[in-house]
Symmetry: C2
Subunit: 305 residues, 2 copies
């Protein structure tokens, strides 16, 4: 079944221990849709400026991503500049130029408003709420992501959003900030009181935890020998996750668990090259192979007597 994502489309400039790149294609919506495209039909809603490269639109189209929801407006595309220092897992934002993204007011077409799977990437929760209200048919499964900024300045809007989604994706630190809890089980209990029954806590290099009504599931990150650029790992994770469940159209606990590993697999590819480069030649069979390896390094035999 098909999947809609509303998120940012950006040009990122990054410096990592592996090198520097200027103005590479990025943004939550891009990473998400590219990762999800391996599993299901995906439509992206976002905004770009007049300076956006046609070759980047072509790249998205070649991934079979429906880009009819990308609006081109006067002005420049969203820019983000960041650096990963000693701790490769934490980005230091050097500059954010919202540009056209500052006035982002997503218009959801009639066709898009009937998509059964919806991912509200990390943007202003007011906009996330609006998108959700624009859906003409109640989606089968809605997930959202967020960040510290919105917890700081739009907590009420964010809580309103969480009350209406099926799953919240959130970083570990931000999950603590949101709930004022420390222990992940207590964090989940709090998130349930907000109204979301499923929670994914993203642990970066330590993997991810999934909490749902019927189970807790914990997945390590795939061990990547050379992390080149962590930008987009979280969105690639969410893209793999949502793409996988949308493909199967089943939301039982086993599917959610497998989807976490699919998401982790996609994140592990994302970080192996700058920006979205690793996805340029990535084949579905590469994903299957890495998923297999994932099974091997998490599987253990029962205790012997």
């Amino acid at each position: 079944m098909s999947l809609l994502v509303v998120g940012s489309i950006a040009y990122d400039s990054v410096k990592t221990p592996s090198g520097k790149r200027e103005e590479q294609l990025g943004g939550s919506g891009c990473f998400f849709s590219v990762a999800a495209s391996y599993f299901t039909e995906v439509s992206i809603v976002g905004v770009i400026g007049k300076d956006f490269n046609n070759s980047d639109l072509r790249f998205l189209k070649e991934k079979n991503i429906d880009i009819s929801g990308i609006e081109k407006t006067d002005g420049k595309t969203f820019r983000w500049t960041g650096e990963y220092m000693d701790d490769i897992n934490t980005a230091v934002t050097l500059e954010t130029q919202l540009n056209v993204f500052g006035n982002f007011n997503p218009k959801i077409s009639n066709q898009h408003s009937k998509k059964p799977y919806l991912f509200l990437a990390n943007i202003d929760p007011e906009i996330q709420n609006k998108v959700l209200e624009s859906m003409n048919v109640k989606p089968k499964f809605v997930a959202c992501d967020t960040m510290n900024l919105w917890i700081d300045i739009k907590k009420n809007e964010l809580l309103d959003l969480i009350s209406k989604v099926d799953m919240l994706f959130i970083n570990h630190e931000e999950s603590k900030q949101l709930t004022s809890e420390d222990n992940s089980i207590n964090i989940y209990e709090k998130v349930k009181t907000y109204g979301s029954n499923n929670l994914v806590i993203k642990l970066g290099e330590f993997g991810a935890k999934l909490f749902s009504k019927s189970n807790i599931f914990s997945a390590p990150a795939f061990p990547v020998e050379n992390v080149v650029d962590p930008t987009g790992a979280g969105d690639s994770f969410a893209g793999g996750f949502m793409g996988y469940i949308a493909k199967h159209g089943v939301i039982d606990s086993e599917t959610l668990k497998t989807a976490i590993i699919v998401g982790s697999t996609m994140a592990s590819f994302a970080v192996e090259d700058f920006g979205i480069n690793r996805f340029k030649n990535l084949k579905y069979s590469d994903i299957e192979d890495r998923f297999e390896e994932f099974s091997k390094f998490t599987y253990f035999n029962p205790m012997h007597e």
Copy 2:
């Protein structure tokens, strides 16, 4: 097969968000041997002062731990005082009184010097080296633990030790400090050049990673609802691990992986109460049950087509 541990025996005073305890039985040797005692015969070598409580010796004996290697000398037992603040995973040491432990010079009896499994808990690497030299029969499997202090002040002695052991247990931060590497795969490559073929990186609340020649294995921590006192979690982990492999007397990659989960299971019990209290009434069947739960929350189905 039987197992020897050389480590500290201490009275710990701790303050955690769950409360305060004064002078509770602790020390790496105690946590390790108590956890290992569920799986195999274990002998502890350590030193206590005249003030040591007979009831604590009785407790160890009741766990079928061979305490003939515990030496009682003039002076007071080692004391450690620490506090766990907001971040329950990191202890702040408030006071260390080495007392009799400051002159610890372990004497390894002839019987102990033939034990096939040896764990050198976190003590001065000079002493760890000496113990290793005292072994009359080369053990089948030797593992050691260490800490930042020894990396700072006795790195050469520590590297000498690592060149002679089969496995190094080390915290994540300390593994980075030791190797000047960031990425765990590179950390393992470095540790191999030091001479140890197996490495366990302890990630606290995020579990543990095992690196051996034939595989990488990653295990989450068991989700504990209420972490009461994290003291001894790492040593309980190592005790479960070593106890399990000593019990089976087989050191293949599958046994090592299962042993990591056994270790994580023991650590998850350790933190549920102050000091070693949780082990007072813990039954082997409790361990089997939690191991089973562990399987459930890490197991995932293959990808569907």
